[in-house]
Structures are given as C-alpha cells and as structure tokens.
Symmetry: C2
Subunit: 225 residues, 2 copies
C-alpha cells in the first residue's frame, strides 16, 4: 500500500526527471544543472537532493529512459513477418528519426562518454534493445531461408556467445563472417546517424534523407537481406 507521503514523493521525483529531460533537450547533458531544475520547479536547490541522490544518478535515470524510448521506437517499427530487407530499413529509419527528434538524448547515449561518469550495470539491458531488434531480423531471415548457406565458421575468441545469441543465434546461414558484417552494420547505422547529427556530413551529403536510405540499403545488401 503506497503511503500518501510515498505517493507525493514519487510524483515529485517524476517531475524532477521530466524537468531534467526538458533541460537536457535545451542545453545538453554537460549543461544539465540541478539548480536550474530546482528553479523550474520552484523549489530550493538543496531540496532536490532529497529526491535525487546526485547529478550522476539523475543522468543514469535519463540514460535508461532514453534507451528504453529508443528501443521501443525500434521495436514498434518492426512488425515481424515482413520481408527482412524492409524490416531492416524500417528499423533503421525509426532509429534515425528518434535520434533527430531527441538529438541531445542521442548524444547522451552514443556520443562522448560524460567525463567522470561511469554507466552502471542497469543501463545495459535497455541499451541492448535496438541490437536485439536488428539481430532478430537477421535471425528470422536465416531461419526463413532468405540467407545463403555459409561455412558455419565459429571463432569463440572473436565474438562473445551473448552477441552470437543476439545476432540470430546459431544457424547454418550465420557464420563468423556474417556476424562480423552484422556487428559492422550495427556500428555503421549509428556511425552514419552520429555523422549526420554531429555535423560531419555538412558540405558532403546534400540530401541526408535519401542518402541515409541508400546507405542502409547498402548495409542490408552486405548482410544478404
């Protein structure tokens, strides 16, 4: 039975997280200030510390929420059953769309690590969700026979068993070369989005929408999707 006191406490904690998210969208992670959050909520800066242990702790909560939001967007964009290539493109577009809508949160997840901050273990499962979606597409394609047979090479010292499980699991069509390409594609998806968001494509790519689609298409082709 949630106490009245406990309920209002949870509400205020949620309000602090919301205000922090708004601030994150405006000034970025490095500019996130508990004092500004307190100002926005009309409370003393010291009062915030009754609800949030520290700035880093608030950051962890924002990171987990952002990973979950991004993961949900990726999952929602992938209704299983369609052709693998279209599923791949749909998920990639969803990830890019989320990143463009939440650039500061994206930077928090995939940009420079915040100095002095070490992400705790509870951020790992939410962080894996996008990878799970992409890996499931590859695995489904293998099981439905949409991938050519492969040599079945397996090098346990190169890619971990956990990663193999995510990347479609064990299957005759999934050998180490495919998995290397899959991890490369995964890195490349976020590499292209980061390059676009962080301004490295300015002056080179004129139509980023079409370029992204073509680039993701090339990645899919490289995977045999």
């Amino acid at each position: 039975m949630p106490n009245a006191r406990e309920r209002v406490r949870a509400e205020i904690t949620a309000e602090i997280a919301d205000a922090a998210r708004r601030q994150l969208a405006e000034v970025g992670a490095a500019g996130l200030s508990l004092r500004a959050v307190a100002r926005e909520l009309g409370m003393a800066s010291s009062a915030v510390y009754r609800y949030v242990p520290s700035r880093d702790d608030l950051l962890t909560r924002l990171i987990i929420d952002a990973y979950d939001d991004l993961g949900a967007a990726a999952e929602a964009a992938d209704p299983p059953g369609g052709p693998p290539r279209q599923r791949w493109l749909a998920v990639c577009r969803a990830v890019r769309g989320w990143a463009r809508e939440h650039p500061h949160e994206y930077a928090l997840l995939y940009g420079s690590p915040v100095p002095g901050y070490r992400a705790p273990a509870e951020t790992v499962p939410p962080a894996a969700r996008v990878g799970l979606v992409l890996g499931r597409i590859l695995g489904d394609a293998a099981r439905s026979g949409d991938l050519p047979e492969a040599a079945g090479e397996r090098d346990p010292a190169l890619i971990s068993d956990d990663a193999v499980a995510i990347l479609g699991g064990e299957h005759p069509a999934l050998d180490e070369a495919v998995r290397v390409r899959a991890l490369l594609a995964w890195s490349a998806v976020f590499g292209t989005i980061s390059f676009e968001l962080f301004g490295h494509l300015v002056g080179s790519v004129l139509d980023t929408d079409r370029w992204f689609d073509r680039a993701m298409g090339e990645l899919a082709a490289g995977l045999g999707l």
Copy 2:
C-alpha cells in the same frame, strides 16, 4: 623579426595549449578549465586571458591541432603506390591507433558536440584530411584499373561536387553507388572506432584488434578494394 616580447608571448601561449591538452586527457572537453590551466602554469587565472581570448577559442585551437595530428598520422600511414586494399587497411589502423592513444581528443572531434560551442570555419580543412587520404586511395584504385567499370550515374542533388572531388573525382569506375558506399565506409570507420572507444562493443566483441581488421576488410571489399 620577432620581438623578444612577441617570442615569449608565443611561448607562453604554446605552454597554455599544452597544459590544456594535458587537462583534456584527464577531465575531458567539458571539464576543461582555464583556471586549472592557470594553476598548473603558476599564474593567476585572469592572466591566461591575456593569451587566450576565451575558453571556446582555446577549444578551437585544440580541435585544429587534433585534426592535424590525426590527419598527419593517416597520411604517414599511406605511402602511395601499394595495393589499394593494403593502403586502406593501413590508414584505418592508423586512425584507430591515434584514437586509442588520444581518446579524449578523438571524443572532442567525433563525439558529442560541445554544448554552446560552434566550430568555426577554420576547423574544416584540417577535418577533411583523413577523408582526403581515404578518397585518394579510392581514386588511385579507379585510375589504376583495380575497380570494375560502373554505370557512371551522377546525382548532383545527393552528394556535393566537393565530396565527389575528394572521393576520387570523376571516373568511369566511380558512380553514385560507389560514392554512397565510400561515404558509408567513411562513416563506418569512425562508427566502429567510436563504438569501441565509447564502450558499446564491451561484452560483444572479445578481440577488438582482430575484429577491427576484419571489419575494415569487409568495408574494403564492399568498395571493391
């Protein structure tokens, strides 16, 4: 004729930049503090402002120096004339090696943009150096006949003329599809390095050295190198 006064001024300015670089390696770009630089050099914080107009200006200098250092490393790793695939791998390895030796400077260049800081135009030429090296390899491969003929498609609304010039220029073996793959490979190189440096491969890739080589090999193969 450099005045004695001007000489000592240039020396102190260089000392400030060096101290800032050391500080960058310790606390990252967001934690870079002119006061700490002043402390390290044994001068008053206000005295630093006689040599550096602002913190952002110092950041610009560090960015340009880092781009130049990385660009020089990439150029030094590419003695032209060898087989394109080996040149490609050598340059990629050099970029990764530089990134691992200077993780904070790499994050400054390719990580999250520093909030409130906007890179001025003079950072663009140094930033282009790695791309020039990679593009030259592609162009040399095309001109030496190591690439298959292509359709020669050219879409001026997709990729800028400047980028086309960097990516080997106009050649029958270089059409828009190749250029898309080249830009994708460029993004993927930094995507994989960022993923490794920023911790996204922890738990998935066990041997990052070998994985990087194989991934870069896949990228080269995708380009026909």
